[in-house]
């Protein structure tokens, strides 16, 4: 038996979780990462200023020390996720044709992964060294 049209509730659309099919997840995760990024950004600025003008050997030693390395890794992972959501939002705002939208979204993901993996690899190498 077919339900009359007026008995349809908004639930039908809500279960699709909107155009992105992920509801407000990106919105929430952008807030989550932004809160985490505040102390991590302050820490990054302090680390960079403290390393200015130091020799390569000193920079390697400091960046590879546990506390600094962990803060750097947290900064990289937090910002990578934050900027991935942010750039996706910009792309979805301005790029409407699928022909450009899908490659742009792919490029966004690839760029973020490459940059984040480069940063993490460098920190691991500085920490465990060879």
């Amino acid at each position: 038996m077919k339900a009359p049209a007026h008995m349809r509730t908004p639930m039908r659309r809500v279960q699709g979780l909107g155009a992105a099919h992920s509801g407000t997840r990106d919105f929430w995760h952008q807030r989550l990462t932004s809160v985490a990024a505040i102390p991590l950004t302050i820490a990054l600025v302090l680390i960079v200023v403290a390393l200015l003008g130091r020799s390569h050997a000193a920079v390697v030693q400091i960046l590879g020390s546990p506390l600094i390395a962990i803060v750097m890794l947290l900064f990289i992972v937090t910002t990578a996720y934050h900027m991935w959501i942010g750039m996706q939002e910009i792309i979805l705002d301005y790029v409407h044709a699928d022909k450009w939208k899908l490659p742009s979204l792919l490029a966004n993901t690839f760029f973020v992964f490459v940059v984040a993996f480069c940063c993490c690899y460098a920190i691991f190498k500085l920490s465990f060294g060879v």
Partner: protein, 139 residues
């Protein structure tokens, strides 16, 4: 209706107004600045990756990186990076305040916008003065 169906006439419908129709306002400029600084920081992450990879690669690679940052272009990029980072962070804090449903009154919005720009300029200069002394200050 026959004309419309045949596609021979173009119906001129009103378009919704876009940015250019509004008088520029401080809060609007801050909103645009937040997006532009965010996009700039996105590509700026490549600079962080270069720095860390150079440090991990060895003294020669690190020397190339520090040489680049010592050039006028390098310094301009790093100065812009510093300001963008601080501005985006303060702009983000402003958004987090709004998320708690505070700061929406016209005067409050204006004050938050002014605080964002004044704070980002002041903190950027402070960081560069600190950096200047970290590099050895006046020699």
């Amino acid at each position: 209706m026959a004309d419309l169906d045949a596609g021979t006439t173009r119906v001129v419908r009103p378009l919704s107004p876009h940015l250019q129709i509004y008088r520029p306002m401080l809060t609007m400029l801050m909103s645009i600045a937040h997006r532009i600084t965010g996009a700039a920081l996105y590509f700026g992450m490549a600079l962080l990756a270069w720095w860390l990879l150079a440090a991990a690669s060895g003294p020669n690679a690190y020397a190339v990186f520090t040489w680049f940052l010592g050039t006028v272009i390098g310094k301009l990029i790093l100065f812009g990076y510093t300001w963008a980072l601080i501005h985006h962070m303060l702009g983000g804090i402003r958004h987090l305040i709004w998320d708690t449903l505070h700061g929406f009154e016209p005067a409050e919005r204006e004050r938050l916008a002014l605080a964002t720009i004044a704070g980002s300029i002041a903190l950027t200069l402070l960081i560069w003065v600190a950096g200047y002394f970290a590099m050895g200050g006046p020699r």
